[in-house]
Symmetry: C2
Subunit: 315 residues, 2 copies
């Protein structure tokens, strides 16, 4: 285990050497990139600019939540609203790997533009050891970026700076504590955001649907946790399925789509158990989703598969 204070002094000195001019930082709101951002700001002061991208693929309330987290961490930051760019990039794409690729490329193009404006070619990101070890060790191929998106364009003009590259998660947590970053009970959220919680093509309507459904799952699970009727799950979310199914309203048959609800227990995300949750909670989630998205969602399914054989995320 590293000594957090010594690591910070060291990292700041290294950043000062490595970055003679300015740098932008890709800040996702996660602990890794927030730690990297704070270290960079300590090293460069006004020559550092942290950017949080609102992709339009975030959960309900995410921009506000992340902004508040940055404020509590005393990090200066800008929010870049780019939902139109991302929606446009994803138009007509159903394949999850292609979604990831396009989201990764859009991120990089945005950061290139912002770097240009800020007068730099350095992009700081919060890559940690497991990020590149898991993906094979080669730098360029394995940059999942701070957003865990799939690959980056070969012609990227930015030079990456990764101050946390050699740290493991618990070491990052120690460094974050040392920097005064508040610990947040944030459940894992995939880098490509709601795009990979939408089976099939991503449209503004479908993003809205999965966002509403997901907010309902979060609210109801958190209410149950507060009420003591549920142990806090590892992860809990909604997935919009690319299906057409039949419902009834009054005497009429109506068509709509279906949502899958995933609530899992896990220690390290390597394995996970589909959680046994009170039936009243599931019924309430199904009832709210089909009511608050009347005419759009007619069916709600609860994912009962453990990992393995299923992954935690849908795609």
């Amino acid at each position: 285990m590293i000594d957090p204070a010594a690591f910070c002094d060291d990292a700041i000195a290294r950043l000062k050497r490595e970055i003679p001019g300015r740098a932008i930082i890709a800040a996702s709101g996660g602990i890794d990139s927030t730690t990297a951002a704070l270290l960079t700001e300590r090293a460069l002061g006004d020559r550092a600019r942290s950017i949080f991208v609102d992709t339009g693929l975030l959960r309900a309330g995410e921009v506000e939540r992340v902004s508040e987290f940055f404020e509590k961490s005393h990090l200066r930051f800008d929010v870049l609203h780019a939902s139109d760019r991302f929606l446009h990039a994803l138009e007509g794409v159903a394949d999850p790997e292609e979604k990831r690729r396009r989201i990764g490329e859009t991120f990089i193009r945005l950061f290139e533009t912002e770097a240009d404006k800020f007068g730099t070619d350095r992009l700081v990101q919060g890559t940690i050891a497991p990020d590149w070890i898991e993906s094979g060790g080669s730098l360029r191929d394995t940059i999942k970026t701070h957003h865990n998106v799939g690959g980056i364009p070969k012609d990227m003009r930015l030079k990456l700076v990764e101050p946390l590259r050699d740290l493991y998660k618990d070491e990052v947590r120690a460094v974050a504590r040392h920097l005064g970053i508040p610990s947040a009970e944030r459940q894992p959220f995939p880098g490509p955001g709601l795009a990979v919680r939408i089976g099939g093509p991503v449209t503004a309507d479908r993003v809205r649907q999965v966002r509403v459904a997901n907010a309902i799952v979060e609210q109801e699970v958190e209410r149950a946790v507060s009420a003591g009727t549920l142990v806090r799950p590892w992860q809990y979310f909604a997935v919009l399925l690319p299906v057409r199914t039949v419902g009834v309203t009054g005497d009429n048959r109506v068509h709509g789509t279906a949502v899958s609800v995933r609530i899992v227990e896990s220690v390290d995300a390597m394995t996970a158990t589909a959680m046994e949750v009170p039936r009243a909670l599931l019924s309430r989630i199904a009832e709210r989703i089909t009511r608050e998205l009347t005419g759009e969602i007619v069916r709600v399914l609860y994912d009962i598969t453990d990992k393995p054989p299923a992954t935690i995320e849908w795609e």
Copy 2:
């Protein structure tokens, strides 16, 4: 309520008058068409031929189960194996209404051929009052046929004979009992068979998958009912979804599809409740489906939607 004995005498007399020559009977294995078939056989003797069509879209063991039921009912019958015909007719069709239309047409063409061979143009089917009342009262449009399939071709050459046309379900049950038809605890099964339990296109592989998954759901539910851990549900089945999702086998990510499990309580199918079943039962179903269809099904979902807002069947 009718008098079953008087109704039978009457119906047999009417059939004798209406059908001077021969007739074929569309026998699905349900109580309605079995009753119609037995009445016709009493009226015409050897001039009646009951035909049970194996569409290839039946559940595992269904042909054997129906054959046994006919034998116990002392009904003479032929099984017509036609899975290739139906699979061919459904090639590339994803739309559920179009599936129903093609299945309906294939049925009629088969019966036309069989009627020709048998030297008749009369087709007896087990339509009962709710069948045509529910669908608006016009004869030609409302013939859901004994298989509840959607419509029949306009140019059908067969003349329909419907001896149970004015009866309600409890009346049919009384007549069936009078004719010595054993009461069968058969859960409702849609006319178009597994085709409407397969979201998206129907292929031989996908029929096999949903059939295996469905047999697992039936076996496990029936085992739980026998063990006394579950009240017998109104209906319980598996649906194959037209989705691609991610799983893990060892260290590898694999792609596969997902199955939805539906288990409902109901009194009359007008409303239904997604049943609260023991979690161990759901886990066992998920575990068996993903194991017995390894590499094909990686995720199992439990439908938690009541009717309304969802229907009992998927499409």
